[in-house]
Symmetry: C3
Subunit: 331 residues, 3 copies
C-alpha cells in the first residue's frame, strides 16, 4: 500500500482485510515488524490523538517517528503555487514535502481545508499537490474533505459495538463557536454508507453537505446496499437511530463567509446533543464523535459521561487501525 488517502480508494474487501489485520496485530503484536523504519509526521494544523497514536503505533511495531509542526519550532510552509514568497512563509511545500519525504519510509500529513472556495476544497487541490510531491508511502492525517484514519477507526468501533450493517446511522450537525471544516463529516457519511448503513444526515438549513460529498456517499451505499438521505428535520432523523454521530461544520450555503456563517449559527445553539435527542432512538443507541468535543456546546456532560458515549473507544481505535495501516505499508 503506497497511499492511505481515502477509504473510497479501497475495495470493501480491502477495508475488511485491514480491519482484520488491525485485530490480529492487537492480539499478537509484532514488536519488530518495522525495526529501522521511520515515519515522518507533518502537522500543518493542531493534533492530539493523531500525533500520539501514530507515534505509539510506530513504537509498537519497533519503528520510530519524527514530528514537524510549522509555526511551532518550524516556519510556516507556503502552499500556493507560483507565490512570490515575501510574506511569513519561509519555505514552500514544493521543497518541504519532498525533503521530509526523503528522510522517512512513510509520511503522514495533516492539511486542513483552506475554507475559502468550496470547489477548491472539494477537489482536494492541496492534498493532491502533496501527493504529487511525496515519493514514499503517504498517509492522510486529515485533508480538506477527508479523514480516512478516523473513518477506519469508526468502522472498527461500529463492528466492536456489533452494530448491524443496516442500522440507522444519524450524522448530525452540532453547534460550535465558529465554522469547522467538512473533513470528518464527509469521511463519516461515506464510511457509514460503505459499511451498508441507513445513513441520515441531519443538519440545519444552510449546512447541507455539498452535493459531491453526498453523491460519493450514495455511490458507496448503492454498492453496499445502504442508503443516504439528508434532512433538516432533526426529530424525524433521530427516530429509530442506533448511532448518533455528532460533528461540527461550517455553512456550505455561504462557504468561506465567516460573517454569514456566524449569523446562521447564532440561532443554532440548541444543536447540542443531550439525552432528549434520544427520546425516539433505539434504547441503546450510541453517541459517537471524533473528538475534540466541546462539552455543553456540541454535547452535554450527561451524554459524554453516560453509557451512550463511545468516544474514547473511537479514539483508542485510531491506534489500533493505524497500526494496521503502517504495517501494511511498511512491513
Amino acid at each position: 500500500m503506497k497511499r492511505f488517502l481515502d477509504l473510497a480508494d479501497f475495495e470493501r474487501a480491502e477495508i475488511l482485510d485491514l480491519l482484520a489485520l488491525a485485530e490480529s496485530l492487537k492480539n499478537k503484536p509484532q514488536r519488530q515488524a518495522l525495526a529501522g523504519k521511520v515515519l515522518g509526521l507533518l502537522f500543518m494544523n493542531p493534533s492530539l490523538r493523531t500525533l500520539a497514536s501514530f507515534q505509539t503505533a510506530m513504537a509498537h511495531l519497533g519503528g520510530s517517528s519524527f514530528v514537524i509542526t510549522p509555526g511551532q519550532g518550524t516556519w510556516q510552509l507556503e502552499t500556493r503555487l507560483n507565490a512570490v514568497m515575501d510574506g511569513a512563509a519561509a519555505e514552500h511545500i514544493r521543497e518541504g514535502i519532498p525533503v521530509l519525504a526523503s528522510y522517512c519510509d512513510a509520511l503522514g500529513v495533516r492539511a486542513f481545508a483552506e475554507g475559502k472556495s468550496l470547489a477548491n476544497d472539494l477537489s482536494e487541490s492541496l492534498f493532491r499537490q502533496i501527493d504529487a510531491l511525496c515519493d514514499p508511502p503517504l498517509i492522510n492525517l486529515e485533508s480538506a474533505v477527508n479523514h480516512p484514519c478516523q473513518a477506519l477507526a469508526d468502522w472498527r468501533t461500529l463492528d466492536e459495538l456489533e452494530t448491524p450493517a443496516r442500522a440507522k446511522f444519524v450524522l448530525t450537525w452540532v453547534y460550535h463557536p465558529r465554522a469547522l471544516p467538512l473533513a470528518v463529516a464527509s469521511a463519516t457519511v461515506h464510511m457509514a454508507a460503505m459499511r451498508g448503513m441507513e445513513v441520515v444526515v441531519a443538519r440545519p438549513e444552510g449546512f447541507a453537505l455539498p452535493r459531491e460529498i453526498m453523491e460519493k456517499a450514495r455511490r458507496a451505499a448503492s454498492a453496499s446496499g445502504g442508503s443516504v438521505t439528508e434532512t433538516s428535520d432533526r426529530t424525524a432523523a433521530l427516530k429509530g437511530a442506533q448511532v448518533v454521530y455528532a460533528k461540527e461544520w461550517g455553512t456550505t450555503a455561504h462557504y468561506g463567509d465567516a460573517a454569514a456563517d456566524a449569523r446562521l449559527r447564532a440561532e443554532l445553539k440548541d444543536w447540542c446533543v443531550g439525552e432528549p435527542w434520544f427520546a425516539a432512538a433505539e434504547p441503546h443507541a450510541k453517541f459517537m464523535h471524533c473528538l475534540p468535543v466541546r462539552r455543553n456546546v456540541a454535547a452535554t456532560d450527561e451524554i459524554l459521561d453516560g453509557p451512550r458515549a463511545v468516544v474514547r473507544l473511537e479514539a483508542f481505535n485510531r491506534l489500533i487501525v493505524q497500526t494496521a495501516v503502517l504495517h501494511r505499508m511498511l512491513s
Copy 2:
C-alpha cells in the same frame, strides 16, 4: 507501582528501595527492560529537564515516549468540571486524559497550580481529577503542590553528598519577578523531613508555607526523627546550615492576589542567595535549587558557578531516579 504522585504515599523503606534500584540501574543499565513500552508525557506547563530526562530514561530502558503540549501544536485543554466550552479550550481533560492514557503504558502529567484558591490548590483537585481519569500508571510531573520526581532526585543528591540524616537543611524563599507555585517548596520540605533532617523554612512575612504543608512535613519528621520549623529570621536560620535549598514562591497571605504579591515582593530583592548568606553556615554547606534559576535574582553567579552549587547534580539525578520509577512501574 501504579502511581507516583507524592513521596508521602510511600513508606520510607519503599523510597530507599527505589533509590537503591536507581543506583543499580545506573551501574548496570537494563537496555531492554521496557522494550515495546510507551510513556505518554502531557505538559500543561513548560518543561526542559522533565521532558528531556523522561524521554532519555525511556530510551535507556529500551522504550519510547511521546510528548503532548497543549498550546504548542495541540489545543488548550479545559479542566473545569461542567464548563460550557465556548472559549479557547477545544477539548476537556475528561476526554484528553483517558484517550492519551489508552495509547500508552504509563502517563506523566504536568499541571501547575491554578493559583487562585489556596484551598483548591492544596487539595490537588485538578490532579485528583486526572488521577481518576487515568487507568494506566500515572506519574506526577509537577502538580499544584507536589513534585515527587524532584524530591526523589534531591534525596539521592543528599545521599551522594553524604549529607548526614540529621544535618540542618534550610529551605529558603528567594526573589522572583512574580509569584510561582508552591509545588517544589512543599515537596522539598516534606522530603527533607522524611529523610530525617533538621528542616528550617526561612521566608519573609507573608510567605509562610500553608499550615497543611507544614503539618504534613511535621508528620514525616516525627516518623523519621527529624524536625521542621519556620522563621522569617534568615540569619538565624542559616546558622549552621549544611544545605541551603532556595526556592521562589508566591505570597500565601494573599494567595492569588497578584497586586498584593507584587507589593510584598518589591521590598525583597535582597533575598538573592550570595556567599555572605553562608557566613555562619557549615564551611562546606551546599546550595541546592531545582532549576530553572534566575541568575543574580534568586542566586548570584558566584554561588551558581562556585563549589557550593550542586544544581547540575540534582538535575542529573532526575534522570537516574526517574529511570527507577519507570522500571518499577513498567518492567
Copy 3:
C-alpha cells in the same frame, strides 16, 4: 570525534574519510550501531531539515533523540554572561546546556548569530560558551557564522554531481525581505575553497563577506589548490560557472543596523536567480541552496523546478552525512 563544529577543524583527509563513511553507511546500514545512545537536540532557532534528519539518523543507527525548543514548550534561555535575569528568560545556558548534556551521549545545538556586533558574531562567542559548557560530544547545528553539517552535505552533493575539484563555484547573494545571518555563506565559501574549487563570491556593494571569513576561505584554498575572489559584478562572476550557490545575508557594511540594511536591499530585488543568470554559465551548471528558500524572491519557480536545481539532493545529503558524524562520534 568529540566535536563537530567547523570543517576547518579537520584535515582534508578526515573530511574525505567522513564522506566515505557516509557512503558506506548509506549502502550498508548499521541498524544497531548506536543502540541505547541518546542524542539531545537544542534548537534556539527554528528548524525543519535539521530536526527531522538528525532524529532519523539516530533512528537509523538504533539510537534515540529528544528535542528541546526554547520558546516552544520550554522557556527562553539566557545567553549573556552576568545577566541579572529579571526578564523573559527563566534559565541560563550555564545551567541549561550542562543539564541537557548530562542526559545524552551527544548534544546538537542551534544558536544563530545575535546580529548586533559583527566582531562578536565572528568570534563565535556564544558557541564557544556552549562548547565550554558541554562535556559530551557536541554538534554545531548552525552557529553565528558556521553550519558544518550543511557544508559537509554540500561537499557530498558536489561529489555526487561529479563536479571537478577545480570547477567554478559562484556563491551569490540573493534577495530576502530582511537580513539573515552569515552562517551558511561563511561555511559554504570555506567548504568550496577547501574542496579546491575556483570560488567567486558575487554580492552587491554593502554585502561583502567579512575579511575574516574571506581570509579563512583563502587559507583553505591555498592548501587545496583552489582560489577565492569576490566581486559585485554578477555577470562577470557567473561566466563559466559550473555551480551557482545562492544565499541570503544581511549587510556587513552596516552590520546589525536594520534600517540601513532595509534601505540597501530595497534596490536589490533583481538578485533573484532566474534562468537568464545562466546565460554565460556552463551549459549544465547547477543551482544550489541550503533551504528554506523563498520562491520567486531568492530564485524563480523555473529554476527550482528545473533541471539545474539540486536543492532536494543537498537536503537529503544532510541525513547521509550526519549519520556518519553520529557514527564517528558515538559508535
